[in-house]
Amino acid sequence: MPTIIACFKWVVDEAYIRKGPSGELDFSSVDYKIGEYDRNAIEEAVRLKEASGGSAIAATVGLPEATKGIKDALSRGTDQAYFIADPSFSNLESSQTAAILAEVIRSRIQSYDLIICGEGSSDLYAQQVGPRLAENLGIPCISFVRKIALEGKQVILERRVEEGIEIIAAPTPALVTVLPDINIPRIPGVRDTLTASKKPVVTIKKDELPPISEARLQTIKLTASRMERTCEKFGTDAAEIGRFVGSLRKKGVIR
């Protein structure tokens, strides 16, 4: 029976980010969530274990506050969680996150069949943790997958490429990053939340890990992105429709 690990990130909900007066990003009223794409990873891990009777493990690296995310991931049907937390883990870079996850999976989980990651985090969207984690663990990596079938010691996948779809066979253990269209994540009910609080959580602190290397990318600036648009509004009567079409003609964008 397979063991499936789903990795996720507890991120700022970008819908609450405001643009500050001098072009900075204003995080003062933000809320947090499990990254959009990571919900698909968790859902897929849970579906696969429900179909095969194995177990699904959720794993995350982040701030101690991400304990809410752990509860959310367990409510979504995973059986247990690995929570690697430290107050200094607020701005980890992909190479660091992947190294920490690899260390914990290698030393604490050891035996597993599949690791599933979202195609990217919904905050930084570097799309690197999955592939880097696979390389750190020395296992096959298949990215941008939209269908997974575990068949004994191998996994059959449909992955998206520019020309269409490729059907891939890979030996397990393997790492897969999934596209958002692979499934529609469930919304946990009250009952799921209650059972979640009884599930085991392994908490790992920074000092239980080997030293973490420096970030490979250094952020030197973070600003709000600019969209310079005229934001002109129109009504729906004949004159307004005429004025709207006239504006498009004036811009030369319609023939």
Partner: protein, 315 residues
């Protein structure tokens, strides 16, 4: 110093990366190398477009995917210590770049949209979008080589120059991978390439039934444009194929005119249209964020407005 290296899946992408690669190499005082599995004739073309060296990869066996080149490219990079590796951000390209960066234990700037060389500090300064497109992050890479993925279409193709010279070097055959390609399926026929369309008509959640997409198609026909959609339309409802979904995780478009119908304007979607010349929208919710991202917006029910627009355009 072993230069700027370029890897992409097709000739168009290689020529785009040669454009920026050539510029950077000139500032950095170094050379440009292209890694490609295409034939020698293409090598000549890339040299004309700015490459100083072509590293020819052995073409792939039918059941292998380009990931087999990862160990080979890594080894070459370890031997020759390039300054920068530029990779076109296709599905395979993004995957390969992250894995090569992991093997080289170096930084990767994904989805880079501006790439500059600061001559004073001799560092590459790179910009990318974060928070679904709400923010711009400026980064530098602290390790060698800097690796960067660039979305196709970010740069114009390089202009060829007559009389350029370059070397062609053959790399050894890669070891076969345990990961096998069993089958390849081409795109669904309906899916056209919207990234190059001159006009894009995009349907969002404001369109309440699958059949009503016909209305958007009519408008697209009048405007001689292509149809596209937001994420819920392709992913949740499956009304249109995935390839037509615009957004950070979907297609990025740069039409002269983007016309959004019932599109709310989630930041991820807006990121996919930020390079449109003119953004026009129809939405009945005056508070929808799409109006802030639009040049021209009609506040109204699309079922009322679209037929009127079609009539006006046909006048």
């Amino acid at each position: 110093m072993a230069g700027v290296w370029i890897f992409a899946e097709n000739g168009e992408q290689i020529r785009e990366l040669l454009h920026i690669g050539r510029q950077l190499a000139a500032m950095m005082g170094t050379t440009v190398s292209v890694l490609t599995s295409q034939d020698r004739d293409r090598a000549r073309d890339y040299i004309d477009h700015g490459a100083d060296e072509i590293m020819l990869l052995v073409p792939l066996a039918e059941d292998q995917s380009p990931d087999v080149y990862i160990p080979l490219i890594t080894e070459e990079a370890q031997k020759r210590d390039p300054d920068l590796i530029l990779v076109s951000a296709t599905f395979r390209g993004k995957d390969m770049a992250a894995r090569i960066a992991a093997r080289l234990d170096t930084g990767l700037c994904s989805g880079c949209m501006a790439l500059n060389f600061d001559e004073e500090s001799k560092t590459l300064v790179m910009e990318r979008l974060v928070y679904g497109g709400a923010g711009v992050q400026t980064v530098t890479c602290t390790t060698r080589p800097a690796t960067v993925t660039v979305l196709p279409g970010t740069y114009e193709p390089a202009i060829p120059e007559a009389g350029r010279r370059g070397q062609v070097r053959e790399l050894p055959a890669p070891a076969p991978s345990a990961v096998k390609v069993m089958e390849k399926r081409a795109k669904e026929r309906e899916a056209r390439d919207i990234s190059e369309a001159r006009v894009v008509v995009c349907v969002g959640r404001g369109v309440s039934k699958r059949e009503d997409i016909a209305l958007a198609r009519q408008l697209a026909e009048v405007l001689e444009g292509e149809i596209a959609c937001t994420r819920p339309i392709s992913e949740e409802y499956h009304w249109l194929p995935e390839e037509l979904c615009i957004g950070l995780s979907g297609a990025q478009v740069k039409p002269d005119l983007y016309m959004g119908l019932g599109v709310s304007g989630q930041v991820q979607h807006v990121t996919g249209i930020r390079n449109a010349r003119v953004i026009a929208v129809v939405n009945k919710d005056e508070k929808a964020p799409i109006f802030e991202a639009a040049d021209f917006g009609i506040v109204g029910d699309l079922y009322d407005v679209v037929p009127k627009l079609i009539a006006e355009l046909e006048k």
